[in-house]
């Protein structure tokens, strides 16, 4: 079989602009999904600093925690929460695609896998919240 290839020097090679993800809604949502990890990591670093400060004696810790009720920090945590929720939803959607669960010979539909994830997430969240409330 002869391999016929066009003359590479005559081809036009398109280039992708760095702003490609702004040009289409799906790409933009994808980028937001990826950037959710930045907000999650930022929250964790702050959380870690809180944990570190908790070992520094009651008064200085209380003074340190005081600042988190300021509007700036509340807004930051609200935004972080929104991105964390975006991550949760999209991660469950992705998991539903990756996991091909079978019950007997039937493949479990993706919507059901998604629903089970959501249910488990809500239960886990309630348990953690309950633990913080009773303690």
């Amino acid at each position: 079989m002869t391999n016929i290839r066009p003359d590479a020097s005559k081809l036009y090679y398109p280039k992708m602009p760095a702003t490609w993800w702004l040009r289409q809604r799906h790409y933009f949502l994808f980028m937001m999904r990826e950037l959710s990890s930045v907000f999650i990591a930022s929250f964790l670093v702050i959380f870690l600093v809180q944990i570190y400060q908790s070992g520094s004696g009651q008064e200085s810790y209380a003074a340190f925690m005081e600042r988190f009720s300021s509007p700036g920090w509340v807004i930051f945590h609200l935004v972080a929460l929104l991105f964390a929720l975006l991550h949760t939803i999209t991660w469950f959607q992705s998991s539903a695609v990756v996991l091909e669960l079978k019950v007997g010979k039937m493949i479990v539909p993706r919507s059901l896998v998604m629903a089970v994830h959501l249910g488990a997430w809500i239960v886990a969240s309630i348990i953690i919240l309950w633990f913080f409330i009773v303690n």
């Binding site: 760095a18 993800w21 980028m31 990826e34 950037l35 990890s37 930045v38 999650i40 990591a41 929250f43 964790l44 670093v45 702050i46 959380f47 870690l48 809180q50 944990i51 570190y52 908790s54 070992g55 810790y61 925690m65 988190f68 009720s69 920090w73 509340v74 930051f76 945590h77 609200l78 972080a80 929460l81 964390a84 929720l85 991550h87 949760t88 991660w91 469950f92 998991s95 488990a120 997430w121 886990a124 969240s125 953690i128 919240l129 913080f132 409330i133 303690n135």
Partner: protein, 111 residues
């Protein structure tokens, strides 16, 4: 096309584990320590951090999503046009996660 094998599965494994941890646990922790405690809806529970099994939990909760971040952020920066510096970028992102792991362990063990 290169057919070299890679150690990518290792980082991807940590990324996936971090993604799972983050998806199930992070929202409620942001609500508790980021919003409910500062707003006074919940009393502070930081004394729980002394319990050994809470420390284990916190270690997993904090470190795995750092690898999740490292992986996604590295690919995001590459996708946004920083492919020319992909090697230093990988070192910086995954390196930060490794460093974060040690710092987390040091802080938790020091409590």
């Amino acid at each position: 096309m290169s057919e070299r094998t890679t150690n990518e599965p290792f980082w991807w494994g940590l990324f996936s584990a971090g993604g799972v941890v983050a998806s199930f646990l992070i929202p409620i922790h942001i609500i508790i320590t980021g919003l409910a405690v500062p707003m006074g809806w919940l009393t502070d529970s930081s004394r729980l951090y002394d319990l050994w099994w809470v420390k284990c939990y916190l270690f997993v909760l904090i470190t795995l999503p750092l690898y999740h971040w490292a992986h996604r952020f590295y690919f995001t920066l590459k996708d946004m046009g920083l492919k020319v510096v992909e090697k230093p970028l990988a070192f910086l992102c995954y390196g930060s996660a490794v460093l974060g792991t040690f710092v987390t362990a040091w802080i938790l063990l020091g409590l």
